[in-house]
């Protein structure tokens, strides 16, 4: 019987479906948080920026519908799209765009380490490793018998920890895999576990992943939708109950801030739910 070490408590609901300035009309694909707890959301063809208490403090258009979003260590905002990545200042002013449809087929995740940018390309089922000048270095997750990550869900998602290790969701294998920036498989956590919540269920889970530096790995699953926290050895520590998500949700992007607050995008109701982990009534 699984006994959670933490309990997640929902503390905030941001955005939602509608025509309001702080809402999305049809899609919510990417979520990112910065060191202050501000939430960046990419949906429709727009980026919306919310402060840590959920107030809209900025919004700007993207050239194509945003599929993913990430905040670089220097504060610039990177948006993954079909065929390109757009880069903005923290205030939303366009800086540059990397366009190469051979490398950026469908960019569903972006991450950073010193000197490197990583882009999840769902068309290639791989993570592209690129240097800061935009030059392609190598693929990650491609050198295997299936010639790429197994993503029947259609999304490559990953995160990068503080020392540059890439944590990639490989939902068709029911794993989170660890890779070096050069593409070497370092290990994995997870297994298919049927109805047992300690592993992953369904055809293909987890769909999305984020690293809580020094503490563990948070993931989201589909059918039914839920969030989970694992330690780096793969032990389940806590989960976020699916009742707060639309049951039709899939590919819910997830981000975690340095304090451990988890933001998850509901892809059907188009809102961002923010959760706080508590243990024994105190923040984890």
């Amino acid at each position: 019987m699984f006994a959670p070490e933490f309990i997640y408590r929902q503390v905030l609901t941001i955005a939602g479906k509608g025509a309001g300035a702080n809402q999305f009309t049809s899609t919510l694909r990417g979520i990112a948080v910065d060191g202050r707890g501000a939430v960046y959301a990419a949906g429709d063809s727009e980026v919306k920026l919310f402060d840590p208490v959920g107030q809209l403090v900025g919004r700007w258009p993207t050239a194509r519908p945003g599929l993913s979003i990430a905040v670089a260590p220097d504060g610039t905002v990177w948006v993954g799209e079909t065929g390109q990545i757009e880069v903005f200042t923290p205030a939303g002013k366009p800086l540059t765009a990397w366009r190469d449809e051979r490398v950026f087929g469908r960019v569903t995740a972006i991450g950073f380490s010193s000197g490197s940018v990583f882009a999840g390309d769902a068309e290639a089922r791989a993570i592209r490793h690129i240097d800061r000048s935009g030059k392609f270095r190598n693929d990650i997750g491609k050198d295997n018998p299936t010639n790429g990550l197994l993503i029947p869900n259609g999304v490559v998602d990953f995160d990068v920890d503080a020392v540059g290790v890439v944590y990639a969701a490989n939902p068709g294998k029911h794993r989170v895999e660890r890779y070096s920036s050069g593409g070497e498989l370092l290990g994995h956590i997870g297994r298919f576990s049927g109805p047992d919540p300690t592993g992953f269920s369904g055809c293909c889970n987890p769909t999305n992943v984020a690293v809580w530096n020094g503490r563990g790995i948070v993931v989201t699953e589909k059918a039914g939708p839920r969030g989970k926290l694992y330690d780096f050895a793969g032990k389940l520590l806590a989960f976020i109950d699916g009742d707060c998500f639309d049951p039709m949700c899939k590919n819910m992007d997830i981000a975690v801030d340095p304090r451990g607050r988890v933001a998850i995008g509901d892809t059907e109701r188009l809102h961002v739910l923010v959760f706080e982990a508590v243990a024994g009534g105190r923040p984890a």
Binding site: P145, T146, G172, K173, H174, F192, G194, S201, G202, C203
Partner: protein, 201 residues
Amino acid sequence: MSDQPTRRTVLRGAAVLGLGGAAGLLVKKAHGQIFWQVDPARCLNSRLGETTVEACNLCTSECVVGLSAVRAVNEYSRCGRCNICPAYFDISSAVDEKGMPSQKLCPRDAIQRKPIGKADPEDPANNFYEYFIDEDKCDGCGKCVMKCKEPLGLGSIVLRVRYDRCVNCNRCTISTACPKNALIQVPQDEALHPPEILRHG
């Protein structure tokens, strides 16, 4: 005299149109051009949003044809070729020593699979799999269709009327029983899957 049509002329016109339409349908049917077809957007087993209900098996229980003229079909272009396919395995069954579900879903064992390329004996997750349905075993119960649909699967398995089995009743017994009116009669040129109709019709 007013140019407005009288009630009588309107009714007469409607009757002529109705008779003409019915006659047209009969002519098309006489030429074998009208087919019964499952509309996947109406079928309880395949339409989205029905996530917590049991599979409807009226296509099995109501059809006058042995086993049923309705069979499950896997549209390969949409199939994810998953290692753990929720339409092939009963994913709620206990996990066996190989880390796989211990039971299959289909009560008639009508779904088969084979690895694409060379199977990795060390790690079955290292493969794509091709899933195909043995139509001689399938009775159209819809269990696999229900499990394949979004968001659990990709909706590649659907129910189809097989025209080499269907006897094209004037009043299809499945359509009479179907609570969602998912059995529809369509002319060949408006059919959802014209290539298949041409092949089997």
